[in-house]
């Protein structure tokens, strides 16, 4: 059985397709990523899979249960950490967890044992008795992750788990995610617009833009689509160097821009020594600098959509601003 099976899922808001005919699968025990800019339809997809929204068209099963006809079974099988905080600020961390456990029908002994376990996992034991309104953003997110795990979910949804957190806290959260995936075998589906996050955590990633899945594979394979690493070389005279590099069998592609010569190669770090072996005097040019660039998922996104995620988001926020302005005019 697959952990998640999505077929032609579509959600329209006032005729606008927020999610457009999306199809994908998540295997048991996998960490699967939905990568894309804000407004790409990631959260809407998650909301449909977690029974909070009804799809306009299409079907989906979560842990074998239909999201439309077996909602209670789906709800029992999943945990979720929402993009915006969903904690009760006037309760303590412990009370938030206790509330959750009771809502999911855990008995007293199970409850107490599990609260201790999940607090241990996210290292919040000493803050358990503090009101949540006194928590920092990172602590709140950790508490939410702990809460999502309370009832031993088979599938855990993480909607932008590290949005707005500093680098160090983000690292911590990544560690927790990996830990619970390994220790408890929880299947995890996460949405993010951070390339590094998808790259670091996910075994497979779907890139989503304008409500559509553009490509879906392992981060490694996705980056390989681009053909390999890029060696950016500054050489003088460039023309001579260009001709020499073209001759090498290990160079897949040579291009020239901004005074740099870009070589597309496999395993770039092993090719730098080869460059050093070139008898520069004999060939009549001099290598001034070499820069090795590993392709990122950002390059992949750029390759498929023609824009970087940041550019897409900038244009999206422009659009939102226009909409807001339109609203005030009325």
């Amino acid at each position: 059985m697959l952990a998640i099976e999505v077929k032609n899922l579509t959600k329209e808001f006032n005729g606008l397709k927020a999610v457009n005919n999306v199809t994908f699968e998540v295997k048991q025990g996998e960490i699967f990523g939905l990568l894309g800019p804000n407004g790409a339809g990631k959260t809407t997809t998650v909301k449909m899979l977690t029974t909070l929204l009804k799809p306009t068209k299409g079907k989906a099963n979560v842990w074998g249960y239909d999201i439309l006809t077996q909602r209670d079974e789906v709800r029992n099988s999943i945990g979720i950490v929402f993009q915006e905080p969903a904690l009760d600020n006037r309760l303590t961390g412990y009370e938030n967890l206790d509330f959750h456990a009771r809502l999911y029908g855990l008995n007293k002994t199970k409850r107490e044992k599990r609260i201790k376990e999940v607090l241990d996992l996210v290292e919040l034991q000493d803050k358990a008795k503090v009101l949540v309104k006194n928590y920092s953003g990172g602590m709140q997110r950790r508490l939410e992750i702990a809460r999502g795990l309370m009832h031993y979910p088979k599938v855990l949804f993480l909607d932008e788990p590290t949005l707005g957190l500093d680098t160090q806290t983000r690292r911590h959260i990544w560690d927790y995610v990996l830990k619970l995936n390994q220790k408890e075998g929880t299947t995890i589906i996460l949405t993010t617009h951070y390339m590094e996050e998808a790259d670091f955590l996910c075994q497979r990633t779907a890139i989503i833009d304008f409500g559509k899945i553009i490509v879906n594979d392992t981060p490694f394979n996705l980056k390989n689509i681009l053909g390999g690493d890029v060696l950016s070389i500054e050489a003088e005279p460039a023309k001579e160097a260009f001709n020499v590099f073209q001759e090498f069998s290990w160079v897949k592609k040579v291009s020239q821009h901004n005074g740099f010569i870009d070589l597309t190669v496999e395993q770039g770090e092993k090719k730098i020594p080869l460059l050093m072996k070139i008898d520069q005097k004999e060939k009549g040019f001099e290598i001034k600098s070499v820069n090795l660039r590993k392709p990122t998922l950002e390059d992949v996104f750029l390759h498929f959509t023609g824009r970087t995620i940041r550019e897409r988001e900038a244009s999206q926020s422009e659009k939102n601003k226009m909409m807001m302005r339109g609203r005030f005019k009325r």
Partner: protein
């Protein structure tokens, strides 16, 4: 299955208790308005009011207190019901809606919590009014008044949940207060008998469920009611029951 639903009701109730008693300002704040009404209207109008058919041993303050208790129940209950909106605003509603807990049990839990806090406020006010000179004509009536208070609470919390379930955000809250809650309050005969209204307004007053609550409370506490107590009880029970069903239904249908 039953025990799971009871657990849901219990945990929703428990949450409300914790939130309520931690917010001291809320306890005082919601009592202030009815208290000032009682003070200003009760003493201000006491010398000049005498309704036809009102027993001689009952003064205006006695007449007013059951009404103000009904009002306290109304405001606290509507607020408790509409607090679904605040949960929506602060995201906590998603946490509740994504759980397998049964939706009617969630609504019943909210009602249990809201009724408890509203009863607490109502009784505080009753005690305060005793110090202001209110005398309960029928001490056994307190038990009956208790039932009326619970029914008012259940009905209007259910009503509040229903409204909150169809609203998107807290923007429309003051509109609800002014267009729905205040008319319900003013037309229910809190300050004067409904029989003082012209007949067209009387019809509206009789369509107001709180009218039966206030009249019932008067019957219970000061032995003066214009509608028979059993009729008050029946109509209010029907209102409470239908609002629980209506509120649960709309709440189950709502998407976050």
């Amino acid at each position: 299955m039953v025990s799971k639903n009871l657990e849901t009701i219990y945990v929703m109730w428990l949450r409300e208790m914790k939130r309520f008693f931690r917010a001291k300002s809320r306890v005082v704040g919601t009592l202030a308005m009815p208290f000032f009404f009682l003070l200003a209207m009760g003493f201000g109008l006491k010398p000049s009011f005498n309704f036809p058919g009102m027993p001689q041993n009952i003064n205006y303050l006695d007449f007013l207190v059951p009404g103000i208790i009904g009002m306290t129940m109304l405001f606290n209950s509507m607020f408790a019901g509409i607090s679904v909106l605040w949960d929506k605003e602060f995201g906590f509603l998603k946490e509740i809606m994504v759980s397998p807990a049964k939706r009617p049990a969630i609504v019943l839990g909210r009602i249990a919590g809201g009724v408890t806090t509203a009863l607490f406020q109502g009784f505080l006010l009753l005690i305060i009014s005793l110090f202001l000179g209110f005398h309960i004509v029928n001490p056994f009536g307190i038990f009956l008044a208790f039932i009326f208070m619970i029914l008012i609470g259940i009905g209007f919390i259910g009503f509040g949940v229903a409204i909150a379930s169809v609203m998107e955000d807290t923007q429309g809250f003051s509109l609800i207060m002014q267009l729905i809650v205040f008319p319900i309050f003013l037309l229910s005969g809190v300050f004067f008998p409904v029989s003082n209204f012209p007949s067209w307004l009387k019809i509206i007053a009789l369509a107001d469920p709180l009218t039966y609550g206030v009249d019932g409370l008067r019957g219970a506490l000061i032995n003066f009611s214009q509608i028979s107590l059993p009729l008050n009880l029946i109509i209010l029970s029907l209102f409470a029951f239908s609002m629980v069903v209506f509120g649960s239904w709309l709440f189950s249908k709502s998407q976050v």
